[in-house]
């Protein structure tokens, strides 16, 4: 039997975000779980499952169980499929509950890569010299994920004529949403010109094409929808789910730079949810870079492959537009918590708790996760009603 609507997100915990110092990722994770169970109106003792996803800073793993003083858990794992993990944790939690091995699962992500004297770029561009041929990457000057995404984005530009100004429309729209999000780190409006004038990090990516880096943590509680209905918050129903992992290949004929796992994940997710693309009210699309949003929208079929630039350039993703997307400001402008950024905003919107940025029609929300250089993808369809 389908999982559609049987399980729900009953609690959401979001810590302070950004340049918050003096705490490690284990403590951010512990606080996020505490906030999520309080939000749901659950007691700590009612948790019997814990799924952990750590970012780039060391320390957070299965040890979170002890930091939270949780005993005799029935489900515990440290999961890692990069930015697709948050969506996957919700999926695996639902499946494990459905299998009858666990009842109430906290899924948490936390990271604390920022230190007072470290730039955001340095926090993610580690440079250990690898032996043998792999060391060549450093000799050529390849550093961090910026280079990989710039190469992918440039490929899209060369193949389809996508322009930097079109990517800028995504950055401008997300910032306009962030202006209305009290949790967002960047709340000053920007224009296309600001985007164009921002320095290049790795051309074609300007600074305003790139996500923030944040210290913080976010957790959600997954449990039976029926039990969730009796709790404090309106349940956010898990209606559809899917994954797609193209992996990376350097063989001719494959196009890992311009094709995401959305093309694989969407079929299972929409089939399970029993809805179509046109039914989706809000999109929370993983946005490590503006380009990731553009290529993901194409792969879901919101527009044809290669036409993402023309699709977004009229500003339809913005609060004034017809196509509400990344309504909290995303990782470009609100906070960078990997897949928890789109997931948390989806929960807030679906509950109708987004305040000034609330999208009036919020019954169905598409949430995507993405990791590696477009190598891993997760998809969730969430809703305000169980079917």
């Amino acid at each position: 039997m389908s999982l559609r609507g049987k399980y729900a997100i009953a609690g959401l915990g979001v810590t302070q975000m950004g340049r918050i110092y003096g705490r490690n990722s284990v403590d951010f994770a512990a606080e996020a779980v505490k906030l999520a169970i309080e939000d749901a109106g659950l007691k700590k003792e009612e948790l019997d499952g814990l799924l952990v996803n750590s970012g780039v800073s060391p320390g957070l793993s299965l040890n979170l169980q002890n930091a939270l003083g949780l005993h005799d858990l029935k489900l515990l794992n440290h999961m890692n499929a990069a930015g697709s993990t948050a969506g996957q944790m919700v999926q695996f939690a639902s499946m494990a509950i459905d299998a009858g091995i666990v009842n109430v699962v906290a899924c948490v992500y936390a990271d604390a890569p920022l230190a007072p004297a470290k730039t955001s770029g340095e926090a993610f561009a580690s440079r250990p010299l690898r032996p043998g041929m792999s060391g060549l990457f450093s000799t050529y000057g390849v550093f961090g994920p910026n280079t990989g995404y710039a190469l992918a984005c440039q490929r899209h530009m060369l193949k389809y004529g996508t322009t930097s100004r079109q990517l800028g429309a995504i950055a401008v729209a997300e910032r306009a949403w962030a202006v209305m999000n009290p949790m967002a780190q960047m709340r000053t409006p920007i224009t296309i010109e600001d985007h164009q004038n921002s320095r290049y990090v790795v051309q074609p990516l300007h600074l305003l094409d790139c996500c923030l880096v944040s210290n913080g943590g976010i957790a959600v509680v997954v449990m039976s929808a029926e039990r969730a209905r009796a709790l404090r918050q309106p349940p956010v129903y898990i209606l559809g789910m899917g994954q797609g992992h193209p992996g990376f290949s350097n063989r001719s004929g494959l196009n890992p730079e311009t094709r995401t796992g959305a093309v694989i994940a969407k079929d299972a997710a929409f089939k399970m949810a029993g809805v179509t693309l046109a039914d989706i009210d809000i999109r929370e699309i993983y946005d490590c870079y503006t380009y990731t949003v553009l290529v993901t929208l194409e792969d879901y079929g919101f527009c044809e492959k290669g036409e993402g630039g023309a699709f977004v350039e009229d500003g339809k993703l913005s609060p004034d537009g017809s196509f509400p997307t990344n309504t909290g400001g995303g990782q470009l402008s609100s906070y960078y918590m990997w897949g928890m950024t789109p997931l948390s905003e989806a929960v807030i919107q679906a509950r109708g708790q987004a305040g000034g940025r609330q999208v009036p029609k919020h019954g169905l929300v598409l949430v995507t996760g993405n990791g590696g250089i477009l190598e891993y993808h997760s998809c969730l369809i969430l809703g305000t009603h169980p079917s």
């Binding site: 770029g121 340095e122 561009a125 440079r127 010299l129 032996p131 043998g132 041929m133 792999s134 060391g135 060549l136 990457f137 450093s138 000799t139 050529y140 000057g141 390849v142 550093f143 961090g144 910026n146 280079t147 710039a150 190469l151 992918a152 440039q154 490929r155 060369l158 193949k159 320095r199 290049y200 990090v201 790795v202 051309q203 074609p204 990516l205 290949s249 350097n250 063989r251 001719s252 004929g253 730079e257």
Partner: protein, 136 residues
Amino acid sequence: MAESEVPLPVPDERSKPFFEGAKRHELVLQKCKSCGAVLWPVKFRCDSCLNTELEWAKVSGKGKLYTFAIMHQVFHPGFADKVPYNIAVVELDEGLRVTTNVVGCSNSELRADMPLEVTFEDLSEKVTIPKFKPAE
């Protein structure tokens, strides 16, 4: 090695034929004896047919530009006087894409599918690496 220098690769036992080839100014890559796939960088096993019987073979060194990026931010002090420099992905005639730098033209002259050929840069007594330049 000083912090302010470009990090040099350290050839190891497995990658020796590649670096020895580069020293002779030849592009030598692993090739699967079973299916003929050319591999890059060094593998234990062919990722196409999963066979472990691999040999080293000189390849054409010819290809075309698949995509590129221009590094503006300095992520390593060794590149402080090199920005903006390019990172290029070259699709070799053998059906494999490799990451490299294109030399011999300015960054603004880089074009999709431009024909390229391998060239070599002697970085030290011990280490020579392949790069690519516009084909003649």
